[in-house]
Each structure stands twice: as structure tokens, then as C-alpha cells.
């Protein structure tokens, strides 16, 4: 089997008295969509922040290909090809949509004109082509989520970390975003996504990791994971699996 593009090994992170991530290991295979799911407070975003360099783990390692990237700062990781979005959209509010995306495009392009041209292309890919000159602060939630993806995409990543890009969207907006994410994967970009919208996870992800209380409790194809007793209990409470899943 080929080396996975991302490998997280036994990562642990404590905030004071809270053990946010106790022992998490996962991999993302190149060219695939991998999902990380789990109940609120499971430590998903903390794990994302560790992978993207915003936090350092107390123990464990993160590998990008064969390189140990544990503890590298975010801008270095972005240059290596790891881009992330934020769960709560973080637009450059005073800038236009075009200028926002151009910041990402500048990573590999010095010239302003080249960055703006690349930004316009990326905006087209995510469906923001008609809103280039709008101030980023005027976007709807769905627009702001698309902008998050566009900026990250403009850096030219090989690994894209999507932190709940579908959260807060209505069903029609989710339905519109799903093909966009699939399209990004179709361009050969590896995606690791945190997602709560299960219908989207089921249709997009090829591999799912379930994080519960800082620990990966299940992994596998979306269907396997959805039927897993530990996963059902994590979401619905102790004993729920016995009531829901009839004994065979």
C-alpha cells in the first residue's frame, strides 16, 4: 500500500485539566476524501489545529508523506501544501472576495496580477465568480464558507482540511456544496473533513474516523461506521445501540 499523505500517530493534547485529545491516530490516503466525525467536544477541531500547526501536541507525531511535521508553524505547513478552513469563517472582512482569495494565491505567485487572475479562477470553481468585487463582510453564511474553501484552495494545496464547511447551511445550500467538494477531490486534492452533516459524510467520504472523547473509537467505510455500536452509543447515549440495532 502506498504511503498515506497524512498520518497522525498517537496524538495527545491537554488544556489545563481537560484532556482534549487523549490518543488519536488516523491516516488520509492520497486523492481520497476522509471524514472525521464525532459528537460535540470530542476534540475534532483540536486535532485539526494540531495537524495544521496552530497547536503543538503534548505527545505523538504528525507526518505529511514521509516528513515529520509535528510542531511546524501554520505558514510553513501551508507552504508544504497543507491548507485549512476555519469552523467559524474568518474572512478578511475589510477586503473584497477577490482580494481575500488573492491572499491565498500569492503563496505561490509574487505578482499581484497573477495572484488576482488565479483568484478569479478559483472563485469560479467554488461558485463565487459573480461576487468578486463584493466586500467579504457582505457574504451570507454559505458564501463565507465558500470563501473559506476558495482561499485555502488558492494556496494550491495537496491536502485540504475542511472544518465543518457545511455547518449552519440549509439543505439546499448543503446540496449545492457537496458537488463542489467532490469536484475539488476530483482535481487530485486529498481532503480531510470534519463534518456533522451525516448525509454529506455518507455521500462524500470514502473513509471515516470517529473521534469520541479524544480517542478514535471506530474507522472504516461510511456504512460500517454508521452501524457501529460504539458510534451509536457515543451519539445517542449508553445503551442506545442495544435498543436500535436488533440482535442478529
Amino acid at each position: 500500500m502506498a504511503e498515506p499523505l497524512l498520518r497522525v500517530e498517537h496524538v495527545r493534547k491537554r488544556f489545563g485539566g481537560v484532556l482534549a485529545v487523549s490518543d488519536a491516530s488516523l491516516t488520509a490516503e492520497a486523492g481520497r476524501i476522509t471524514a472525521l466525525i464525532g459528537p460535540n467536544g470530542a476534540g475534532k477541531t483540536t486535532l485539526f489545529s494540531i495537524i495544521s500547526g496552530f497547536l503543538s501536541p503534548d505527545a505523538g507525531s504528525v507526518f505529511h508523506g514521509v516528513t515529520d511535521i509535528t510542531g511546524m508553524p501554520p505558514h510553513v505547513l501551508a507552504r508544504r501544501g497543507i491548507a485549512r478552513t476555519f469552523q467559524i469563517a474568518q474572512p478578511f472582512a475589510g477586503l473584497t472576495v477577490h482580494e481575500n482569495i488573492a491572499v491565498g494565491a500569492h503563496l505561490s505567485r509574487r505578482s499581484r496580477a497573477a495572484a488576482l487572475a488565479a483568484a478569479a479562477d478559483v472563485a469560479g470553481l467554488v461558485g463565487l465568480g459573480g461576487l468578486l468585487d463584493r466586500p467579504a463582510s457582505s457574504l451570507t453564511t454559505a458564501g463565507a464558507k465558500r470563501l473559506e474553501v476558495a482561499r485555502a484552495l488558492a494556496t494550491g494545496p495537496d491536502l485540504l482540511l475542511l472544518d465543518e464547511v457545511l455547518a449552519g447551511l440549509n439543505p439546499a445550500e448543503v446540496a449545492a456544496m457537496v458537488p463542489m467538494i467532490r469536484g475539488i477531490a476530483g482535481r487530485g486534492i486529498t481532503i480531510l473533513m470534519i463534518e456533522h452533516v451525516m448525509q454529506a459524510v455518507m455521500s462524500l467520504a470514502e473513509h471515516v474516523f470517529v473521534l469520541v472523547e479524544g480517542r478514535i473509537v471506530a474507522a472504516g467505510g461510511p456504512q460500517d461506521v454508521a452501524g457501529n455500536a460504539r458510534v451509536i452509543e457515543a451519539y445517542l447515549g449508553h445503551g442506545a445501540a442495544a435498543r436500535l440495532v436488533p440482535p442478529i
Partner: protein, 329 residues
């Protein structure tokens, strides 16, 4: 406001360059030279504060270093004034880089950054008021030598043109930054540092570059001041007055815009002069006026005069469009 080109800058500079040909009045030229000096110092602040979002309260540290370096080199070592001027700028830039390294590497932001820059300027002021090399409490007097090669002139006009040339350079530099990758990264750091980092921006390095350029411009103002007035002491060079002027001009004119500091400096200085005409020379009155203007601008026009003008222009365009629409309909 967007869309200012180098051509616009050159037109404004050319218009201002005509002034000494129209009037030989020392009062007018002195007033405009000081306004241009404040515009230059304010443009320095604007690079870091306006574009980078790092509000410094201590730009006196750079102004004073520019002034002292050239004054000390001339009075103690007999170095040529023009060379001293260049070294003054370099010295100011170095102080900027050092203060930037100490503050940005330790992650100081917002009001903490503002307070620490103020503290640096005050420490330098107190040091300059006791150290023998800076003339301690007496200050430094530059010897009168009215020759162009000594950076001194018989009339005010050459000083005015030099100040104008420095302002022109600062305007062009800022305009080039605005349309560069460095500028895009700097503004990204101002708008959202975390998001900028995620997009590959080395925020500390970008801020360090910004404070160095910012300090160099402001130091140029300080070195020019020493040459123009031929006297500095610790209160002039490192005093809080220049830190206030440096941030007031861009805030009133329009932070993060090319022409904001120049416009703000002209408006603030004009208001100061008008107030003096009305009230005589009541001490401290100009500060009262500065304070009042600052409160009004922050309350009602947070984007400064340039912001108000661009809003008015947008409204005017819309009004014309709707009137035209009605006439046709």
C-alpha cells in the same frame, strides 16, 4: 479609496511644487514644510498602523533616532550632513527592526503593542535627556553652514522642495506596497492574523518588514527636522508630541490609504493655525483642538476624510444614476 495611480501622486506633487514660485512668504512656506514633515512621519506610521493594523504610540522612537543620529554624527564627528541624513534613516530603521523583533516575536498585539512602543520611546527620551552624547538636558545645536552641500539653504524654498520630494517618495513607496504581495500579506495580517497564517503568511516576518519600512520613513522626518531647525533636544526628538502627530495625521486623513497622511497633516496643521489666529497663543490650545478633532473623526468618520469623500462620491454617483434613470423612464 482605490485606484490611485503613480500618475495621480505625481500630479499632486507637481501642484504642491509650484507653491514657492507663487509666494516667497516664509510664513506660508514654513507652515507647508512642517505640514509635509508631519505627512512624512504620518506616512511612516500609516505603513505599520494603517496597512498592518499595528497601532504604535511610540513613533517618536524612530523620529528621534533619525534626528539624533544625523545631529550627533555632524556635531561630534564632522560627518557630512547628507551622509548623516542617510545614516539617520538607517539608524531609525534599525531601531524599528529591534523593537519589532522584541514585540512581534513575543506576540504583542493591540493595546499591549501600543503601550510597549510608548514605553520604548519614553525610555529613549529619558536616556537622551541624561546621556552626554545626546547633549543631555541642553540638546544639540547644529552649526550654521548655509551651503547646499551642508544640507542648509539661504531660503525656505529648497527645504520645502526636499520635504516634498521625501513625501513623494513615501507616497510612491506606499502605493507600490499596496499593489504588491507584501502589501496583500500585510493587510491580511491586519484583517485576521490567524487566517493569514493558515494561508502561508509568515505574520511575524511581514510585521517586521513593515515596522522597518515604517521606522525608516519616520526617521527621515526626524533627520529632516534636525536639518531644518538646527536644534534638537530629548523632548523634541523623543517626546510624545511627535508620536501623537504621527498617528493623528493618518487617522484623520484616512488610515490605510495612500493620501490619508498628507491630507490629514494639511487639515490638522491648518486647524491648528486657524485656532491660533482666533485665540492668540494660548498654550496647549492646539492639543485641545487635536483632541476634539480626533474624537469627532473616530466617532463620525472612522475611515477619515478619504473615507467621507469616497462615501460622498458613491452617493453622488448613485444619485446621478437614479436621476438619469427617472429622466429616461
Amino acid at each position: 479609496m482605490k485606484g490611485w495611480s503613480i500618475a495621480h501622486i505625481l500630479i499632486v506633487i507637481a501642484l504642491l511644487a509650484i507653491v514657492p514660485l507663487l509666494t516667497a512668504s516664509n510664513v506660508v512656506l514654513n507652515f507647508l514644510t512642517v505640514a509635509l514633515l508631519i505627512a512624512l512621519v504620518g506616512q511612516g506610521w500609516n505603513v505599520l498602523g494603517g496597512y498592518g493594523g499595528q497601532y504604535s504610540f511610540g513613533h517618536a522612537a524612530f523620529f528621534g533616532t533619525g534626528a539624533y543620529v544625523t545631529a550627533i554624527l555632524q556635531t561630534r564627528y564632522g560627518i557630512n550632513a547628507w551622509l548623516g541624513f542617510a545614516l539617520g534613516i538607517a539608524g531609525g530603521a534599525m531601531v524599528g527592526a529591534v523593537i519589532g523583533a522584541l514585540t512581534f516575536r513575543s506576540g504583542l498585539k493591540g493595546s499591549y503593542f501600543a503601550l510597549v512602543t510608548l514605553a520604548f520611546a519614553e525610555v529613549l527620551r529619558i536616556a537622551a535627556s541624561v546621556a552626554p552624547v545626546t547633549g543631555a538636558g541642553v540638546g544639540l545645536l547644529l552649526a550654521l553652514d548655509l551651503r547646499p552641500q551642508a544640507f542648509q539653504f539661504q531660503s525656505r524654498a529648497p527645504f520645502y522642495w526636499i520635504a516634498l520630494a521625501l513625501v513623494a517618495v513615501s507616497l510612491i513607496v506606499v502605493r507600490l506596497i499596496e499593489h504588491s504581495r507584501f502589501g496583500a500579506w500585510l493587510v491580511a495580517v491586519r484583517e485576521n492574523e490567524e487566517a493569514a497564517k493558515a494561508l502561508g503568511v509568515d505574520a511575524v516576518r511581514v510585521k517586521l518588514a513593515a515596522i522597518t519600512v515604517s521606522a525608516a520613513m519616520t526617521a527621515a522626518g526626524g533627520a529632516f527636522y534636525a536639518q531644518y531647525f538646527l536644534f534638537i533636544d530629548s523632548g523634541i526628538a523623543y517626546g510624545p508630541w511627535i508620536s501623537i502627530e504621527a498617528l493623528l495625521a493618518p487617522i484623520i486623513g484616512g488610515v490605510g490609504t495612500v493620501f490619508g497622511p498628507l491630507l490629514g497633516a494639511l487639515v490638522v496643521k491648518t486647524l491648528g493655525e486657524l485656532a491660533k489666529l482666533v485665540t492668540g497663543d494660548a498654550p496647549g490650545l492646539d492639543l485641545v483642538i487635536y483632541g476634539s478633532v480626533l474624537i469627532l473623526v473616530v466617532a463620525f468618520a472612522p475611515r477619515g476624510i478619504i473615507g467621507v469623500l469616497s462615501d460622498l462620491r458613491m452617493r453622488w454617483t448613485r444619485l446621478r444614476a437614479s436621476v438619469a434613470g427617472r429622466a429616461h423612464g
